[in-house]
Symmetry: C2
Subunit: 303 residues, 2 copies
């Protein structure tokens, strides 16, 4: 063990949290403990890296200087930082919490306030990347919080990220992430319509994607999702349910700002429709199945 | 004059047609005549390149082996190929018509049929580029029609295009173009919502565009329109009215195929709204003004 590296604990070891822990373990960080509401999941990771499973949240905080959390949603974030006996905030003086889940900006603000009241610091570190980047320490990370917390977190985050950026106070990174995903999901739903209509017209979709790539229709999602839409390969990198959740966060921000976002609303409706069809756990590229004829999704077209 | 180059005439010398004519003139093509319903426009170009203004459409056909048309819309295309006395089809035997306007796929099919009935050939050559590319001979051209017509047109088109592609029978290129513009316009309207919401949240939009560019939100329209949306610079490269027209073509194709395209519909509604606000002649980037607060567009938000 390298004594210059802080003791790190993990809360929430689904695919992202697990792979971040594997990465830091590989770099010889002492992984002080791991915790997950799914105890089997925590035990599995713990066995892989020879780390203890924490009995509860207070034990996590007791075990480490730096606690990295990657939980599911706003509710889970509020729960782990609750003012109850079993909370990360118990005995938290001096700790640094780094929160990587995509949750509402307001929740990051609340968590920062609660952490500070407990003598700790917190930082939001929003991720705009997926599993392979987590495993390889090549995340795209945007951080929101105090400058002091950012500078303290920076050495650990540099070991997890290929790109690291401080964007402003707590909640700002979640706002930027919500906007990134909103625009990405609009582009995804729009590409699905373009390819689906192309298929209905009998066009060669490989030619069509090639033309899109060379013209004003080009986009990152064309690169990442275009072939998958054509070939109906929806192994999940970023689920439709996740896309719908992100859309909800962005639309809530828009509602607070009194803005009408018709494209974002139409996009959310498409992903909600996928979920209603029981396909929420497919990759977001499955939104194409709503437009491609003969793919089983009931048409809503009115002839 | 190079005798190996065919005599070329131009019908419709708005900004695209004019710049294509200037390009071919520069390459020493004999420009046999020019014609436009706006006679001053035709006269201006004719004076620039020392070419005659044709008295009528039949005179255009009489003057040249190759006639390049760049007209406004379906109605104009039907008019120049009408079965009347003043039509490009009068005395058209042996002529090659190259039609560069973005019109409905079905109109290209009708024009090809009428040209063939007159002993001529026609080719659709859809452009996915703008004025500077026309002037520099760097157009992105997609061609639909018979292989024979394509091969005959190819030497001239190579002098106009940086990228030239045969995509299938008459009407196919217009279909592909409609899909390119549909996806481009969806991405544009979606980007406008992302930047507009970012502005409402008080985010640094230069930072936000930078993050978009590095993540799944990246797109060609982010490169071409992102800064213009931020800075409210809507000098026209591709007008909002044009975007609405394209959306109409794509939605008509979708309707025929019995497909529901909610993103394309929401996008058309946004561009229609710009037109209703008297801003149809601004660049498509002006769609951002519908979302950015304080830019004069009435909010439709329901608080």
């Amino acid at each position: 063990m390298n004594s210059s590296k802080p003791r790190v604990a993990f809360v929430g070891v689904g695919r992202m949290g697990r792979n971040m822990a594997l990465r830091l373990h590989e770099l010889h960080y002492p992984i002080a403990s791991v915790f997950d509401v799914d105890r089997a999941r925590a035990a599995d990771l713990a066995a892989s890296i020879g780390a203890p499973v924490a009995a509860n949240l207070a034990a996590v905080t007791q075990s480490a200087e730096v606690v990295i959390t990657v939980v599911t949603d706003d509710t889970a974030m509020r729960a782990i930082y609750a003012s109850t006996d079993d909370s990360l905030l118990r005995g938290a003086r001096g700790r640094l919490f780094i929160n990587c889940a995509t949750v509402s900006p307001a929740v990051h603000v609340l968590v920062e306030r609660a952490a500070q009241a407990s003598g700790a610091e917190s930082l939001e570190a929003c991720m705009a990347s997926s599993i392979p980047q987590a495993r390889q320490g090549a995340l795209y990370l945007m951080c929101g919080g105090s400058r002091h917390a950012y500078e303290r977190a920076e050495p650990v985050l540099r070991d997890l990220a290929a790109s690291l950026r401080y964007v402003g106070p707590a909640g700002t990174a979640a706002q930027v992430k919500a906007l990134v995903n909103m625009v990405m999901n609009i582009n995804t739903a729009g590409l699905a319509e373009g390819l689906g209509l192309g298929a209905a017209l009998g066009l060669d979709l490989t030619m069509l994607r090639d033309v899109f790539a060379q013209t004003g229709a080009n986009s990152r999602v064309l690169e990442t999702d275009g072939a998958d839409m054509q070939n109906r390969e929806h192994e999940c990198y970023f689920s439709a349910a996740h896309a719908a959740k992100d859309a909800g966060i962005a639309l809530a921000l828009a509602h607070q700002a009194n803005l009408d976002l018709p494209l974002a609303m139409a996009t959310k409706a498409q992903f909600d429709r996928l979920i209603a069809l029981g396909q929420g756990e497919l990759d977001k590229s499955a939104v194409a199945d709503l437009t491609f004829q003969g793919r089983g999704a009931p048409s809503t077209a009115t002839p």
